[in-house]
Amino acid sequence: MNLSISLGNLWLKNPIIIASGVFSIDSAPYFPLPDIGAVITKTITPLPREGNPSPRLWETTGGLMNSIGLQNVGLKRFIDEELPRYLELSLPIIVSISGEKEDDFPQMAEKLKDKGVSGLELNLSCPNVERGGMHFGKDAEVVKRIVREVKRASSLWVMPKLTPQAPDIVETAQAGREGGADAVSLVNTFLAMALDIKTRSSRLGTLMGGLSGPAIKPIALRMVYEVAKAVRIPVVGCGGIMTAEDALEFIIAGASAVELGTVCLLNPSVPSEILKGIKEFLREEHIGDIRQLIGSLKTSNNG
């Protein structure tokens, strides 16, 4: 049975990727590393960021809202202190990067290019200070430019991560491909709010947070389907995946691999359970190669 897949030039032994923001190098002992296809780091920015004030979490029906605020040690300390430890995990390591202006992305890529990482995920769901705080990922032209500059600055494998707040996520994905992306991942969290009715203020330390978890799965799945159908580079699906069945739905809808986010927080062993479930399904269905499932959705009977 073959479980390996390739995302352009990046080969993974199985399609299970740990999403950005739910793994830290110190928490590695909680994860079943041998069963994981790749790990994406928490998003790194050029300079250290202390993150948002607490509370940073709020639970909703089937969902989790977070406003971590990209807390991270900054690129330099990441490269010096954390990356060597990541590379010891013997797993493909994809570094998630972000910045405050377009130039930050290629500059970071340049510094990461010969450090042994397997690729970059571009977190575009953050405010572009040069553009009045509009998120990079909402403007297809900006996405194309950032991807192109990153590819120019390094020979690394590059995957922009699309935000569901984009006016047209298919267009953004196309722009990524035109910029030279090796793959696209989607979705990042949905911008959301929750209020404390007594204090008339946000439940979080910030006004809004990002919604993740099973609540968003049906919307994320639809977006992955739309993008995979339209764009001719590999798609990595993400959003509310909790079980092997969920992961298989994304693959059938067109994803070549999946990212697990929130579910890792409630159960870091989940990659093993999902891998096992996928294997059982393939066995039961007599499918020898997981790649046969990618995009195998039948849409004939329904519009």
Partner: protein
């Protein structure tokens, strides 16, 4: 790998209208845990509530491989936990977080407010000749006071005077603290602020067990941030027991 563990419910007993003790069989956690640490418990196999709930380790019987939680029902997660029966299996992660530095001090003073007794009961059992100030709204909320008295010197305060002295747990702290080389506390935020303030004045180191909303409990999500003089710390990993002087309460 330190993934989630299964624990069997050995006993559930209500000790108040909305407070109960859950005794669990889980030899690994019973062996490893130290006072102040917690477990992060899945309250339902379904996704509501989605996240685990952090609960302090309240008591341990290492020989039997058992430990207990003291839980107050405040919402849906704790409500679901209260419906578990003997023999049921629970899914939990732990032991997690920092412990009280009980073996670095000879003569600590323990202070608990209400349900804050949970981690301090275990701590009191661990230190030699413990002295503990135990405060609560009223007599009914002095959970496990009788048991505590069997092995600790307990100074009781209630807000309504229904047991012990009338007043807050911290009302005589500025005097009592002088005989001790450290303070270990758990209770409502207001109480902890007072403890830290008085301890600072007396120049005695204080260690307090805090609460913050958590998702993972093992340092992965950076969700449980607590502001300290050294920047944000993660309550689940750098805490829940933190140095009073460092936290910005």
């Amino acid at each position: 790998m330190r993934g989630p563990q299964k624990a069997k419910v050995v006993e559930k007993s209500f000790i108040g209208e909305d407070v109960f003790i859950l005794k669990l069989l889980q030899p690994f956690i019973a062996e490893e845990c130290r006072p102040g640490q917690f477990v992060n418990v899945r309250c339902s196999p379904l996704y509501e509530p989605l996240l685990r709930r952090p609960l302090s380790i309240f008591d341990v019987d290492r020989e039997k491989g058992e430990f207990s939680l003291l839980i107050r029902i405040v919402g849906k997660g704790t409500k679901l936990l209260s419906q578990h029966k003997e023999g049921d299996e629970l899914d939990l992660l732990g032991p997690l977080g920092s412990a009280f530095p009980y073996n670095q001090y000879k003569n600590p003073l323990l202070i608990a407010g209400g349900i804050g007794i949970a981690p301090l009961y275990f701590l009191a059992k661990t230190v030699d000749h413990p002295t503990i100030i135990f405060g609560a709204k009223n007599k009914k909320e002095l959970y496990t006071l009788e048991e505590l008295r069997e092995f600790a010197t307990v100074l009781v305060f209630t807000e309504d005077g229904s047991e012990g002295e009338k007043g807050m747990a911290t009302s005589k702290l500025h005097r009592l603290i002088l005989k001790h080389d450290s303070v270990f506390a758990c209770g409502p935020l207001g109480m902890l602020r007072e403890v830290v303030r008085i301890a600072k004045e007396a120049e005695v180191p204080s260690f307090i067990s805090l609460e913050e909303r958590m998702a993972c409990g093992f340092g992965a999500c950076l969700g449980c941030a607590v502001k300290t003089i050294k920047g944000y710390k993660m309550l689940c990993k750098d805490g829940p027991v933190m140095r009073g002087e460092e936290v910005m309460l």
